[in-house]
């Protein structure tokens, strides 16, 4: 039996150590540095997976200081470190010509560490610190596209995230002033009015970090789309989700929630769903001239911007799940809505990362990020058609795929308010439309330049996309089979995971 401290802190020590090694070796012996980063991340993934399975199968949980691994935090940390590992492997190829790889690699590893430890922390001060580490490293990593616009996007990312940090810090000060504790669970001990004020600060702060409308529109599309593909993947599929997960945990530990807060959450959720997805569609058809929120002086039809807008709408789903649970926090609702939110996070994390990995290959093949100059990728990379379609259907909540659970609980569930059901149906349809249009413009239209050959693309870039598509298929089959068959195992899994979100003492 491995000790809790060992399980929790070994990944931190391993990845931090490999970040130091990369700083020294990355430019001198890049292959060796890459090998060390990949192996430490794989080892950390193995350890966290072991801890997660122990929690799931034997009901164990591991504690060390203010960190906890249980079914919920274990699942999230496994997802985040898996995405981190794949993004790192992808970077070996995507960033192979980067001159400051000695800076890029340690920053990337620190960014991954920050996200994993956000979800494991049960104390607001640790959550705050790890978020700040994520903001600082993420801000620098965005500029690695080396465009003027990427510098502007990084400035905007830092400005908005510092504002979010200030709001969270204010909430922490109020909480500590009243209860002398910064534990997430201690929010319950606050007097009624002060609790409302504290939660308002936390909600606003984490909504900015999670990219919800209206704040998300200001920083998320520029920052995500200007970053190099591996960083965009981590920002979209991991950082935004970890912010949403923290909100989920703060609220699910509460005994009583004010109706005003539930109203704010559901409004933010529905607005994010609709605005995000329509902006994605506008970007896919007409480009940044009409979708706005672009930092460059040149108008483009950016494929990465489509995914960035789509991320805003996907976070909306999570907020709606949370608000619906809070409106009647019964045991059944916890399983349906909190479990649904976590399944949606996994679906979105994997599908968005998959789309982005394929997009990176398409960019390298067609020598452009602007869809007006892309095309013909299908001839060079035909496998991309299949993997793109799998992610499209998963994000579009189509039955048979990993996203079906979200459709079932939010759209086909008669207990959900009708306006939410309509918004979800519109969002799912529009998501499919925007992805298919982007796919058509990138893969099927005539090439606008001499395309690069697949042999020019690094092998490290060709592995993560198909691997994630395969994983999505497996999860889709398992979820759909479990939902139809009312599998006891799936029910227990979701029950353990939802209990894990709530128990953070």
């Amino acid at each position: 039996m491995i000790n809790g401290s060992v399980l929790i802190f070994t990944p931190l020590v391993l990845i931090s150590g490999s970040a130091l090694v990369s700083l020294i070796l990355a430019n001198r012996a890049r292959k060796l540095a890459n090998m060390i980063s990949a192996s430490t991340l794989t080892l950390s993934l193995g350890l966290l997976l072991y801890a997660f399975l122990k929690c799931l199968l034997y009901g164990a949980h591991f504690k060390a200081y203010y960190y906890v691994i249980n079914a919920a935090t274990g699942l999230m940390s496994v997802l985040l470190i898996l995405l981190g590992l794949l993004a790192t492997v992808y970077s070996f190829g995507y960033m192979e010509h980067e001159l400051r790889y000695d800076l890029y690699s340690p920053l990337l590893l620190s960014f991954i560490v920050s996200m994993v430890y956000i979800v494991l922390a049960t104390d607001m001060s640790l959550i705050y610190l790890t978020f700040e580490l994520g903001t600082a490293t993420g801000g620098v990593l965005i500029t690695f596209s080396r465009r003027r616009s990427s510098l502007r996007a990084a400035t905007r990312f830092l400005a908005l995230n510092i504002l979010a940090a200030l709001l969270i810090l204010t909430g922490m000060i109020i909480q500590y002033y009243h209860v002398r504790s910064l534990k997430v669970i201690a929010i319950n001990m606050l007097p009624e009015n002060v609790r409302l004020l504290t939660l308002l600060f936390y909600t606003l702060g984490f909504s900015i970090k999670a990219g919800l409308v209206p704040f998300g529109l200001l920083w998320l599309p520029p920052a995500h789309s200007e970053a190099p593909i591996p960083i965009h993947t981590l920002l979209s599929a991991a950082l935004v989700q970890s912010a949403a997960f923290v909100l989920l945990r703060i609220y699910s530990t509460l005994i009583k929630v004010n109706m005003l807060l539930i109203g704010i959450l559901i409004t933010l959720g529905v607005l994010s769903l609709l605005i995000g997805v329509f902006e994605a569609l506008i970007e896919a058809i007409w480009g940044s001239k009409y979708s706005k929120f672009h930092v460059s002086l040149v108008n483009i039809c950016g494929i990465k911007r489509v995914w960035a807008f789509s991320t805003i709408s996907e976070v909306g789903y999570i907020m709606i799940f949370l608000a619906l649970y809070l409106s009647e926090p019964s045991h059944e609702n916890a399983i349906v809505f909190l479990g649904g939110a976590l399944v949606h996070m996994i679906n979105h994390g994997l599908a968005k990362a998959q789309l982005l990995f394929d997009t990176g290959i398409a960019i390298k093949i067609s020598h452009a990020e602007d869809m007006n100059y892309m095309g013909g990728v299908s001839k060079i990379y035909p496998l991309g058609n299949v993997t793109f379609l799998i992610s499209c259907l998963s994000l579009g909540l189509v039955p048979g795929f990993a996203g079906y659970g979200t459709l079932r609980e939010l759209c086909l569930n008669p207990d959900v308010p009708i306006y939410v059901r309509i918004a979800v149906a519109i969002t799912a349809t529009t998501t499919i439309a925007s992805i298919l249009i982007s796919w058509y413009r990138t893969f099927l239209t005539k090439p606008k330049s001499k395309l690069a050959d697949l042999s020019d693309i690094s092998k490290a870039m060709l592995v993560p996309g198909p691997l994630l598509a395969l994983l999505l298929m497996v999860i889709g089959v398992l979820c759909n089979y479990g939902l139809i068959d009312k599998s006891k195992f799936l029910e227990r899994l979701i029950y353990d995971v939802t209990e894990g979100i709530k128990v953070c003492k």
């Binding site: 400035t155 200030l166 002033y177 002060v194 040149v298 483009i300 020598h367 990020e369």
Partner: protein
């Protein structure tokens, strides 16, 4: 870079939070300290931002070729344009990648 708006935003925010901090003195005891802390944080962040904004530009000005100045501006503009004044090179990365400035590889897409 159109960065001047950030500077103005920081200055306005700093003034507003100083004003807010002053008025928070009249709040009841249990709210006074948290609000004052908040305004102190905002003011400090704005101050640091403003200082960095000014110091970065003064430490890393855009290099101007002397030859251009002697021609008296007849060739290329020797002065630092508004865009250049409010932007710096990426200090830790060096130069921008001009090839991808238009979101496509200029070496492949010749205008």
């Amino acid at each position: 870079m159109r960065g001047r708006e950030y500077l103005w935003l920081a200055i306005v925010l700093m003034a507003a939070s100083m004003l807010g901090g002053t008025f928070s003195m009249v709040l009841p005891d249990e709210l006074r300290l948290p609000f004052m802390w908040f305004f102190i944080e905002v003011t400090t962040a704005c101050l640091i931002f403003t200082m960095l904004y000014v110091s970065l530009i003064s430490m890393m000005p855009k290099e101007v070729r002397l030859k251009d100045i002697f021609i008296g501006g007849a060739s290329r503009p020797p002065y630092i344009s508004r865009e250049e004044l409010y932007s710096t090179k990426i200090p830790y990365l060096g130069s921008f990648d001009e090839r991808w400035e238009l979101y496509r590889d200029r070496a492949v897409f010749k205008e």
